[in-house]
């Protein structure tokens, strides 16, 4: 009996050690940013490609106010309610952050003090971003207006309120491999924008019960992760956008007009406000990628 208890304690300790090891925060090596200087103009493109303002501007902000990134937007999800934080260059935001801090936040989902972020922040996509692009983005963010808004606490239930457990979530679901294999240069450029910065899959791909992306249904739509309704299939399947030409997709991302000249509604309105700021070449690359992904039946 005593022997059995000893064994159980031993196995328990091993289990704890494994848990501790798996859930520890991962940081980038400090030298990944060595020799890189942020370029504000290039950073502006990254800002629009990443769609930062859609979540981090004040709810319902329009025009110039979209560049005041005080946060506050609410996301009601199956896991709890999340509030977008302040990422303006104010002490309530990211004023004290280095470029490396932003790299760690976007690529590893960890805060400067080593806390895991909730994946409402789409670091599973941003993880595919180039470090140099994030350094440029940081330079651009630093030029924006400081906003004094204080961050709101997320309202999350057990077990997700234990931040450490998110390390386990990342272990399972934070994958940096490309989903779509391609040799085509244009498709590769689009892939970087769609799978990486644009974080399209965060809405357009359905999730498993733990909130991990269902990679087998890549971009095939599904239930809205944040509110009512459903998200469209954007694969080239007849239940998706098979009928759209690359020119149709590019124009939609420019002006919001569909091939029928209806217009983007819902949260895509904000997305188009960002993609409309990209170059025609970037939009054409996104269109080329979306035509190259596997055609899949729409997920209900």
């Amino acid at each position: 009996m005593r022997r059995l208890i000893r064994w159980l304690v031993f196995l328990g300790l091993i289990g704890l050690a494994v848990f501790w090891w798996i859930t520890r925060p991962n940081f980038a090596d400090a030298d990944v940013v060595a020799g890189l200087t942020g370029d504000v103009e290039r950073g502006e493109r990254i800002f629009y490609a990443g769609g930062c303002a859609s979540c981090h501007a004040a709810p319902d902000a329009e025009g110039e106010d979209k560049l005041k990134l005080g946060g506050g937007l609410e996301f009601v999800t199956a896991f709890g309610t999340f509030f977008a934080p302040n990422i303006s260059p104010h002490e309530n935001g990211i004023a004290g952050w280095s470029a490396l801090d932003l790299v760690n936040a976007m690529k590893h989902g960890v805060s400067p003090d080593g806390q895991h972020y909730f994946p409402a922040f789409p670091y599973t996509s941003y993880a595919k971003a180039e470090v140099a692009d994030i350094v440029d983005l940081k330079a651009y963010l630093d030029t924006l207006e400081p906003v004094a808004v204080a961050n709101l606490e997320h309202e999350v239930g057990f077990p997700f309120n234990i931040r450490r457990s998110l390390g386990g979530w990342k272990f399972l679901f934070l994958k940096v491999d490309w989903v779509v294999e391609t040799e085509d240069e244009m498709v590769m450029k689009g892939r970087y924008l769609v799978e990486g910065l644009g974080h399209c899959s965060d809405c357009h791909t359905s999730r498993n019960p733990l909130g991990g992306l269902d990679l087998g249904n890549w971009l095939a739509g599904g239930p809205n992760p944040d509110g009512k309704g459903s998200i469209p299939n954007i694969t080239p399947h007849e239940s998706g956008i098979a009928a759209w030409s690359e020119a149709d997709i590019a124009e939609y991302l420019n002006s919001g007009f569909t091939p029928e000249f209806d217009v983007a509604g819902g949260s895509m309105t904000d997305v188009v406000a960002n993609t409309g700021q990209l170059t025609p070449e970037d939009r054409a690359a996104i269109a080329a990628y979306l035509k190259a992904v596997p055609a899949l039946e729409r997920v209900k």
Binding site: S245, S255, F257, T269
Partner: protein, 155 residues
């Protein structure tokens, strides 16, 4: 009518058209009328967008005619098209017009004015050259989207 007075007229129309109650059959007609108007927008945008994305050859005269017509449609009198009781709550699937149109009034009038301004900008650019047309499409799309985001039911 000059563009400025047209815009003024839009503001007046949008600010007086939302109070009146209407008979049931009038509500149906009003919904039909406003949906037809939206289809007319789409008709002219089809020409302009077709050129913008390269599906159609750019033709300055055709682009100008379509943009002028779009502006005329977007500044047409809508005062009897939006009676009380013609929202999704009252009519279900027959309309996508959310109650917020009436409960947050006059927010929609401001957005309507912004859309008319964007259409005017498109009308002054469409006949110049293809690049000007392409650049002006974004403003029109954004103003249409701004209204649909707040006031049209998601499908």
């Amino acid at each position: 009518m000059t563009f400025r007075t047209k815009l003024g007229a839009v503001a007046v129309i949008l600010s007086t058209g939302f109070a009146g109650a209407a008979m049931a059959q009038d509500v149906g007609k009003a919904v039909e009328a406003r949906q037809s108007l939206m289809q007319l927008y789409a008709h002219y945008l089809g020409t302009l967008g077709g050129m913008a994305k390269g599906d159609m050859d750019y033709d300055a005269a055709k682009a100008q005619a379509a943009a002028d017509s779009l502006l005329a449609m977007m500044t047409a009198d809508q005062s009897n098209m939006w009676p009380q009781g013609s929202d999704t709550e009252a009519l279900g699937d027959k309309t996508a017009a959310l109650p917020a149109i009436w409960t947050t009034y006059p927010a929609i009038a401001d957005k309507g004015k912004a859309a008319a301004e964007a259409a005017a900008a498109l009308a002054s650019a469409a006949g110049t050259d293809l690049a000007s047309l392409q650049a002006a499409m974004g403003g029109v799309g954004a103003s249409c989207g701004a209204c649909h985001k707040d006031f049209r039911q998601k499908r």
